[in-house]
């Protein structure tokens, strides 16, 4: 199939990018620009177009993996007889659908806890024995603008905490795949069993279904998953899924890119390796290899070699992998 493995432009639609851009970052950029005067480039965020393009290129688009058969109710198979043109049209549609499936979930900071008190009515102290939760059930307002307040038995009227908000909204407006009480597999002790079965992608999909993107549980589960993948070098499990971009962002932010680089070189994905290093330079423009690369305008294998010499911890392994790759290239070009 000609279209297998094709890569296109950034998958993130502009409306989502606009929604997720945090005002704090815009304010910070404005302050920096106003205070310093000179154009100090702000730190790139996950939602920047350049970053998204690089991450999307690294994720890849393997149609066989995106549309792999899953266990569901059995139906007899469907056969279609198509001409070449129809087949190409069907492949094009499949690529469009795959692109919607590969939209990356947002990477946000942990939300601030809510602890605002609205009123203190000591007259009500001792009248009730339980808390009362009042939820605004108007249908057309977004859940983040819904007022949910709690009246405590001591008369204090306060806004509900984030956990109470999520529970109430799930009770009154149930969402598919989300439970009122989160499954026990998201606890730290049970995540280990799931990781042993190589079900990282399932865990992350369940996490997206269950938690809000800025909740501490979501962030904790994602970080645990990325740590486990990096520890056991199981990067290929997330390739061609919507979670690969988030994982790469996590690793590059913490400078743990060696394992991923080795994996890419071993699988002959040199373009992905160069994209990874470019992303690293975007996040850390003052590092040695970034400066050298900018001066020499290095490309491809040279860029990787400079990066390996200056920034990596596992230099030996990466050199070996590069050597093996170059030998393989030499033999294939010779024969």
């Amino acid at each position: 199939m000609a279209a297998l493995g094709s890569r296109g432009s950034a998958a993130l639609p502009s409306r989502l990018r606009a929604l997720w851009a945090l005002p704090a970052r815009r304010a910070l950029a404005a302050d920096a620009g106003a205070a310093e005067g000179k154009a100090a480039p702000p730190k790139p965020a996950f939602t920047d177009e350049a970053v998204q393009t690089l991450l999307y290129k690294m994720t890849g688009l393997d149609l066989r993996k995106v549309f792999r058969p899953v266990k569901k109710d059995l139906k007899p198979p469907h056969y279609k007889l198509m001409t070449e043109a129809q087949l190409e049209e069907a492949t094009r549609k499949a690529i469009e659908e795959a692109k919607t499936k590969l939209i990356m979930p947002p990477v946000l900071n942990e939300r601030e806890p809510i602890d605002d008190v609205l009123a203190e009515d000591k007259v009500l102290e001792g009248t009730e024995t339980a808390k009362y939760v009042f939820t605004d059930l108007s249908y057309s307002i977004p859940h983040r603008e819904r007022f949910i307040v709690v009246r405590e038995p001591n008369g204090v009227l306060r806004k509900a905490t984030w956990e109470e908000r999520d529970r109430m909204i799930q009770i009154f407006f149930p969402k598919e795949g989300r439970k009122v009480i989160p499954p026990t597999l998201f606890k730290d002790e049970n995540l280990g069993t799931v990781f042993q079965q190589d079900r990282h992608e399932d865990v992350l999909n369940m996490c997206i279904a269950q938690f809000e993107p800025d909740s501490p549980d979501y962030i904790r589960v994602h970080h645990r998953t990325y740590e486990d993948i990096e520890k056991h070098a199981k990067y290929d499990l997330l390739r061609s899924t919507r979670h690969f971009g988030g994982m790469v962002w996590y690793l590059v932010s913490r400078k743990k890119t060696d394992g991923l680089l080795i994996d890419m070189i071993n699988r002959d994905l040199l373009e992905d390796a160069t994209s990874l290093i470019t992303l690293y330079h975007m996040l850390y423009p003052e590092c040695q290899s970034a400066k050298e690369a900018k001066e020499g305008k290095l490309q491809g294998v040279d860029l990787i070699k400079v990066f390996v010499k200056t920034e990596s911890q596992r230099e030996g392994y990466i050199q070996l992998a590069l050597q093996a790759y170059e030998e393989a290239m030499a033999t294939s070009s010779a024969s």
Binding site: L16, K72, K122, R144, E145, K159, D202, A209, P213
Partner: protein, 238 residues
């Protein structure tokens, strides 16, 4: 012959006594039970040695010899009249403490314990292609065990020990800035900002105007106590 008949009637009358006919001769020496006496029951079956770790049984030689590679319900048949088997599973295999004849595949083996941790046993009752639990008519287990099995499978899926179908939930399109008053910070009310101030003004003592006090005194002047103070004592706790 009449003599024999009379002798038998006499024996019956003597043997039965006041209550009625005597018991037949073959049953004379057997113990007689009535509802106030306890019937001797069989000793309760010994608990399974795999009570604490039920998954070990599925690795043991005993299991292998009994079932081999096949699932535990393979080959089990209900006993029924006619060619069509009953389209309802049996309600339970233990009726009033006694097992039925031909118990179901789980009840007949005391070492097969339905627990959310022995995943191998639970897997045998899930279709490998569609991920759906088999109907109890298909496997032959009783309804009580089927209910326990479904609960154990749900618990195992909850703990992550069994595969679970995860629906594809698209990325949420919300505004995550948390600027709205419902989830953001609201400035506290004036009463809450100062620590000493009460929420309602009438929580604290408010001195009524002097004219009112004088009017009340004049109204009830015949009934007020001698040493009634102008300001009442402050209430305790405020």
């Amino acid at each position: 012959m009449a003599l024999a008949w009379a002798a038998a009637a006499l024996r019956a009358a003597v043997g039965g006594g006041v209550r009625g006919a005597a018991r037949p001769r073959w049953a004379q020496d057997l113990p007689r039970f009535c509802s106030t006496q306890e019937t001797p029951k069989d000793p309760p079956p010994a608990p399974s040695p795999y009570q604490e770790r039920p998954w070990e049984y599925l690795e043991s030689e005993e299991y292998r010899a009994t079932y081999g590679d096949k699932p535990v319900w393979h080959g089990y048949r209900r006993n029924h009249k006619g060619s069509v088997p009953p389209q309802r599973a049996r309600k339970a295999c233990l009726r009033r403490g006694k097992p039925v004849g031909n118990p179901c595949p789980i009840c007949r083996d005391r070492n097969l314990l339905v627990d959310f941790r022995n995943v191998k046993l639970l897997d045998q009752f899930i279709c490998p292609h569609s991920g759906v639990i088999f109907h109890p008519i298909h496997t032959g287990i009783c309804l009580k065990q089927h209910k326990r099995l479904s609960q154990a499978i749900a618990q195992a899926q909850d703990h992550g020990l069994l595969w679970l179908r995860v629906p594809f939930v698209p990325v949420p399109e919300e505004d995550f800035s948390n600027q709205h008053a419902a989830v953001g910070k609201t400035p506290p009310a004036p009463a809450l900002r100062e620590p000493g101030r009460a929420w309602y003004p009438w929580y604290e003592w408010q001195q009524p105007p002097a004219a009112e006090v004088a009017r009340m005194r004049r109204l009830y002047r015949g009934f007020l106590k001698e040493n009634y103070p102008d300001n009442p004592p402050s209430p305790s706790g405020k």
